[in-house]
């Protein structure tokens, strides 16, 4: 297992409600998984400059 880093998100009750409703829709199993999914999909939509060159 590689090293893991903990990032502490500060979310208010409204933001948590939106996160929890999204989890409840089955998009991800829990809050943390949803945040990691968001990061992966957000990153995939923004390829690194080298990736962009490779795709053009």
């Amino acid at each position: 297992m590689g090293e893991k880093i903990v990032v502490k998100l500060r979310l208010n009750q409204q933001q948590l409600e939106l996160v929890d409703r999204t989890v409840a829709k089955g998009i991800a199993p829990d809050r943390a998984a949803l945040v990691r999914l968001a990061l992966r999909e957000y990153g995939a939509a923004r390829p690194a400059p080298a990736d962009k060159k490779g795709r053009s």
Binding site: K8, L18, R40, Y42
Partner: protein
């Protein structure tokens, strides 16, 4: 249209406007007589004048130049579709510019008195007991505007022709107040003021079925939902000693949510995060979370309310 009964007909002469009762399911046609004339417009809920068409809300939903197939919305907290633009043969309207005013013509042109849309609106709606303070920003029909590269709204000339018209289908009973724009020393109406024809007729079943479905949400509140529903009837403002604040969801309380990231995920975060967050990975990740949510789930852009299925 020629075969259907006309319920009301009126020609607005230059310098004038007309308040028109338009019942739900009826259509107000606003029509060029000579062409090239801007028409300022607003409307009120016929049964509660405090609900009125709000250009800001309409602009966020439909953009700067709403045309056929869009709605005119009332202001928050009502936010209901008041009118539907059923037809628009010219297709150029504006919700960027406010109504012109006497101040404009005095300050910029030196007029002691001059036709202006604010005062024309006020005079037209005075027929229904409303005051000059009850005029709101106008939906400007047949008005051609652009945004300059410096971010300013500008007016251009127009070439609407006789017979060009906008048909407004009432989604509720309204008092519609169109007026012939008073700007004769600006290019808005090509430097001349011309009459505008109004006609009211009942919508056909096909026309009634034309507007897309709009939401009916708890957040669309009316006076029955207000903590203070009484219309203030005097002018000075005085503090209510019994007032206790009841802001929605206040106090706002943040909680920490721990997210375990792998080294690869942390690298990804640091590659895609915005510079404004500096070394604050948590704030950057929060931005990514909600930016992603918007991209994946939001049906309207830039903070605009959604009007389709939720």
């Amino acid at each position: 249209m020629s075969a259907r009964p006309i319920l009301f007909e009126w020609t607005m002469q230059p310098g004038t406007g007309k308040a028109v009762e338009l019942l739900k399911g009826h259509i107000l046609r606003i029509e060029q007589v000579e062409g090239g004339q801007c028409v300022d417009f607003n409307c009120f809920n016929l049964h509660d004048y405090r609900e009125f068409m709000h250009c800001g809300r309409t602009r966020t939903v439909h953009g700067f130049n709403p045309s056929r197939g869009t709605f005119m919305w009332s202001a928050p907290p009502r936010e209901r579709a008041m009118l539907y633009i059923l037809a628009d043969t010219y297709g150029r309207n504006d919700v960027l510019f406010p109504r012109c005013s006497a101040y404009l013509y005095e300050s910029a042109y030196g007029f002691d008195g001059h036709t202006n849309c604010h005062d024309i609106q006020a005079e037209a709606q005075r027929e229904y007991g409303l005051t000059p303070d009850d005029v709101h920003d106008s939906f400007n029909l047949f008005m051609c505007t652009e945004i300059s590269s410096e971010g300013r709204a500008t007016i251009t000339r127009q070439n609407s022709k006789p017979g060009d018209h906008v048909d407004l289908l009432a989604m509720m009973d309204v008092l519609a107040v169109p007026n012939v724009c008073g700007a004769d020393v600006m290019r808005t109406s090509n430097f001349s003021l011309k009459p505008i024809k109004l006609s009211v007729f009942a919508a056909t079943p096909d026309e009634l079925a034309a507007p897309p479905a709009v939401p009916n949400l708890r957040s669309q509140r009316s006076p029955k939902d207000f903590r203070n529903a009484a219309i203030k009837a005097d002018r000075p403002l005085r503090r209510d000693a019994a007032y206790r604040a009841e802001f929605v969801n206040a106090p706002i309380v943040e909680k920490e949510v721990e997210i375990e990231l792998t080294a690869d995920e942390l690298d990804l975060l640091r590659r895609v995060k915005l510079d404004i967050y500096g070394s604050d990975d948590a704030a950057a990740l929060r931005d990514i979370l909600f930016s992603w949510w918007e991209e994946r789930f939001l049906q309207a852009s830039s903070g605009a309310p959604a009007i389709g299925e939720r």
